[in-house]
Amino acid sequence: MKKLNLAVIASLLVVAVSPIMYSLNANAADKETINSVATLRDATPIDVQKEPNAIPKVVNKDIKQGRNYPMQPPVIPHTTRSYEVNKNNNKCMSCHSRHRTEKTQAPMVSVTHYMNRDGNFLAEVSPRRYFCNQCHVTQLDAKPLVENTFTDMHSLMKEKSKANKH
């Protein structure tokens, strides 16, 4: 019985320690990627304050950007500085609501925004869609911090059909 206990403890120890040993053994290249992904400080030593990056500018070109998947909320192609969306007002809707789009030439919010969760249409934007910035965001003119490997559904399907033809 005692021997069995010892064996259990020993194997537990191995399980616990091996990842540590593994990470100690990880090669230099791995370490570099770990460092660059894990923090935004890059290779700055721990006791040094990193020189802050320049604040990127909001893209203000008013040109629609593509959507990566059908249900993606469109991104905002302009600045929204000082635009209030709160209990009192919704500045976005002063251009994007149904009765304002003619004057402003802004796209109307989709009809789903007028639906409540039971699928009934309301006269006003549904409360659950009120806070625009929960889903729609401005874009910054900046380099992505990490590489994005997302592949769009259509590209996947195209590749598949190509592979099938051969």
Binding site: N60, K61, D62, H78, T79, R81, S82, E84, N88, N89, K91, M93, S94, R100, K103, T104, Q105, A106
Partner: protein, 195 residues
């Protein structure tokens, strides 16, 4: 009392026996300049931002909110101060606005908006006064700094140049119609045109 007034009146009416007409005219002229200057100097003191935010109603509410906006800090380094937007430049308009402002001082003395809650409760009415004034004078105070004739539409964003070259250019709308809440937070805008 009556006698005293009588004597005073007679003195004023009596033709001057000691001074020449010229001296009196020049003296009066100089005194006039001094009074006029003093009056305007006093007026100028009330026409500074420091004066506007010397009461906490203004400092804690509108001034604090303005700090995050483009009229407080921007790439050009031009600061719009309270009187830039709220006090007309022309003298007659300025006096008219100052008479109005006396009512606001009254409001301060009796604490009409001496808490944030009371201020917010009155905000819609206060804002409407400003919108009405700017609408009536075709946003004169904005135009003191922003001149339509010198706007370069090619430098503006698409949305801006579209609106400025249509509704603004043909005089259908003026700055304040589209740019409400440019320096402070807004009251509840229910029922306001364009909201």
């Amino acid at each position: 009392m009556k006698n005293l007034l009588k004597i005073g009146w007679q003195t004023v009416r009596k033709p001057s026996g000691y001074y020449s007409l010229g001296a009196l005219v020049i003296g009066g002229f100089i005194a006039g300049i001094i009074f006029w200057g003093g009056f305007n100097t006093a007026l100028e003191v009330t026409n500074t931002e420091a004066f506007c935010i010397s009461c906490h109603e203004m400092e804690d509410n509108v001034y604090e909110e303005m700090k995050t906006t483009i009229h407080f800090s921007n790439r050009s380094g031009v600061r719009a101060t309270c009187p830039d937007c709220h006090v007309p430049h022309a003298w007659t308009d300025k006096i008219a606005r100052k008479m109005q402002a006396s009512k606001e001082v009254w409001g301060m003395l009796f604490g009409t908006i001496d808490t944030r809650e009371k201020f917010l409760a009155h905000r819609r009415g206060l804002a409407e006064n400003e919108w009405r004034r700017l609408k009536a004078n075709d946003s004169l105070e904005c135009r003191n700094c922003h001149n339509f004739d010198y706007m370069d539409f090619t430098e503006q964003s698409e949305r801006a140049s579209y609106q400025h070259s249509t509704a603004l250019a043909d005089g259908e709308k003026t700055c304040i119609d589209c740019h409400k809440g440019i320096a402070h937070q807004l009251p509840n805008m229910k029922g306001v045109e364009g909201w």
